[in-house]
Symmetry: C2
Subunit: 398 residues, 2 copies
């Protein structure tokens, strides 16, 4: 290309860029320096990818829809959502000629059993979890040994801003779990847990607390060494597992393993290694979706450990309190006395809404005290972030 033409092209590109400047900006979920995806002034979102020889390129946001990209110049494909994208966090994949992958312009978030792309569209609620000029806590990535699994396990632990300087203070602990296909990084990465808690604390809406995130997706069994017996026969798993596939966190067997991990290994480790208040009045367990089902079972199985239970859009539908959880809910008066809080929240557009509402109604009929919280929204992180801002202020008040 000749120099003159280069200048013209540079000028046109600059003009386009300046025009675009006012109208659009990179998504905050992009990696440093990535210009796309871009959020436009009307809150539609534009994706741009390079795929020189592709025949078809789509971007797929399970909680929003599919965007078909069109081939432009220089091997780049471009496409904009047909309608504004409501504020929130959206997992997405790119599909190029049948290949499902990340957009390398995005940061990665563990969901659907993989580190994938996501789009964050800010909105009025984002102020709740936006980084503000307030004291910040720390998130520790830490390993501990689980005797029940015979393995080192990775957890994340949020400690409040004054944890290191206020060396004699002891803190209550919230055990907070993710959903199927996610892991111990999800509450801090896609849930903005740390910023959100920093803000609630700065606004004096919560008591300072430690928050612990484990990985609730426990493989069905510890792998048997190949020299002893072969693994169960079967074809290799698909390269792109579906959400929840392979997790099995809902099955009875693996639930029992997670119960043992938390109650026998994790809670004692946290109490031995952090300055906690080590009693049931200062322990809460909560989770979203699959993690909500786990929180309910763990909380009821271990009323000696926990006195607060939080269920965010939980996979706990059509509950019958007279038979569920080995009859642990049968005696309403006893449960009401033991639990300081049973909190259930669900989005009105959530696919689990009907079943969870029936659970709420059945609990109410059985006389089991609980907080019922309906809010707009589907089965998405935007709802769970807001639930945490509603739930955390109710904890550790007595």
């Amino acid at each position: 290309m000749r120099r003159g033409l280069q200048l013209v092209v540079a000028f046109l590109a600059a003009a386009t860029f300046l025009q675009a400047q006012d109208a659009s900006k990179p998504a905050p979920s992009n990696v440093q320096g990535a210009a796309y995806p871009r959020i436009n002034a009307d809150q539609t979102v534009t994706f741009r990818l390079r795929a020189d020889n592709a025949q078809a390129v789509t971007v797929n946001l399970p909680d929003f829809g599919t965007v078909t990209l069109a081939k432009g110049d220089g091997g780049f494909w471009l496409g904009t959502t047909s309608k504004p994208v409501p504020p929130g966090f959206y997992y997405y994949t790119v599909n190029v000629d049948g290949f499902t992958a990340n957009d390398l312009g995005s940061q990665t978030y563990y969901g659907y059993n993989r580190y994938g792309s996501a789009l964050e569209v800010p909105g009025p609620d984002s102020a709740l979890w936006a980084p503000r000029d307030v004291p910040h806590g720390a998130v520790r990535e830490q390993y501990y040994f689980s005797k029940s699994r015979s393995e080192w396990r990775r957890i994340r632990v949020y400690t409040p801003p004054d944890y290191d300087t206020n060396a004699r203070a002891r803190y209550p602990v919230l055990y907070l779990q993710h959903g199927a296909g996610e892991n111990e990084t999800s509450w801090t990465n896609q849930g903005d847990e740390a910023y959100l808690l920093d803000n609630l604390l700065a606004d004096k809406r919560i008591r300072p607390m430690i928050v612990v995130n484990e990985n609730g997706v426990v493989p069905a069994a510890v792998a048997t060494p190949a020299t002893v017996a072969p693994a169960p026969a079967g074809p290799p798993p698909p390269a792109t597992p579906a959400r929840g596939a392979g997790g099995g966190g809902m099955a009875g067997n693996t639930f029992a393993e997670f119960d043992a991990i938390v109650s026998k290994d994790l809670v004692p480790f946290i109490d031995a290694n952090f300055r906690t208040v080590a009693n049931r009045s200062s322990r809460a367990i909560a989770g979203l979706s699959m993690g909500g089902a786990q929180a309910m079972r763990l909380g009821l199985n271990h009323l000696d450990l926990f006195s607060y239970i939080g269920l965010f859009s939980p996979a706990v539908g059509n509950l019958d309190p007279s038979t569920a959880y080995d009859g642990r809910l049968k005696d309403a008066a006893a449960i009401n006395k033991q639990l300081k809080l049973l909190w259930i929240g669900i989005g009105t557009e959530d696919r689990l809404y009907g079943g969870v509402k029936t659970t709420h109604e059945n609990l109410a009929k059985a006389g089991i005290t609980h907080v019922w919280h309906e809010a707009p929204g589907a089965h998405v992180w935007q709802v769970w972030r807001k639930f945490l801002t509603e739930f955390a202020p109710l904890l550790f008040r007595s």
Copy 2:
């Protein structure tokens, strides 16, 4: 497909899988449950991806080579490296019809200015950074406010296993930097920094220390608000930036910014918020590649802050001690007195080897005391992990 045929196919798949069982295993860098990439018994590596309608699929490992995949059944593409892959950590991308992306079977690591895939091939040296049944430190992800940038910045801080329980102890600090296109997560994620230090400490080879990782890729300037003046005109950056592109960490101007971040903001923050020994005898600065160049400049600019300097495969070639760094190396006797250690390591197959060796020779000629460490290997993480196991034991001995 008829049921009978399904059974035959399932049987053949199972037989193939059982046969493969003894011969191959998923790479340790895969996400939980992902069967591919697989490391075979002969240390070749097999990749497998689904791309139903693709015309060409390759896997590209910049530090090894390209693997061309062949289309098999069910939309899957399969390919094996033509030779064994030496032990180490390999960034890789997948290219499908001109589209560059991740392999969703891999965990993601920040390098080349994006969160991309990588392949870990274990070998004898892996014992140095393998998780062992020893006390483990924690890695904190933490934010601090940088006055010189007017922004909250994210760092990682490794604290040794006894940091929380030994509440009166104070610790020396190593500031340890990544290379171009990487960030503050790279030393813990691809460098296995925490496990490696845990092991060295368990073997009594190092003194307990705090290790701090910052993001040395500083954009050229804080963005000016659009209402005041438009951002510099130019076309949007490419969707897939090249390694080091956009970083600019080597340019004089942005180096000055990183110098201010570390010396004015980071060191005071660490000393105020961690139990450090806050003097130059207990502070080291080291880095790899671009980070090595930054460590050398920062260390020499701030001899009041640092007394140990470590350069791992540094971008410091053909150094002339009589003129470099504003003459700070001119007086060999003075520098030798002030620096407790100047350590320079390089792989003999590194593309920077010649220039760095000349730097070493010029320093020797000028009478500047330093440790020169040559080892087999290229410009790769496997070498830098080993350099850390050589360098850390020499720190904080007097």
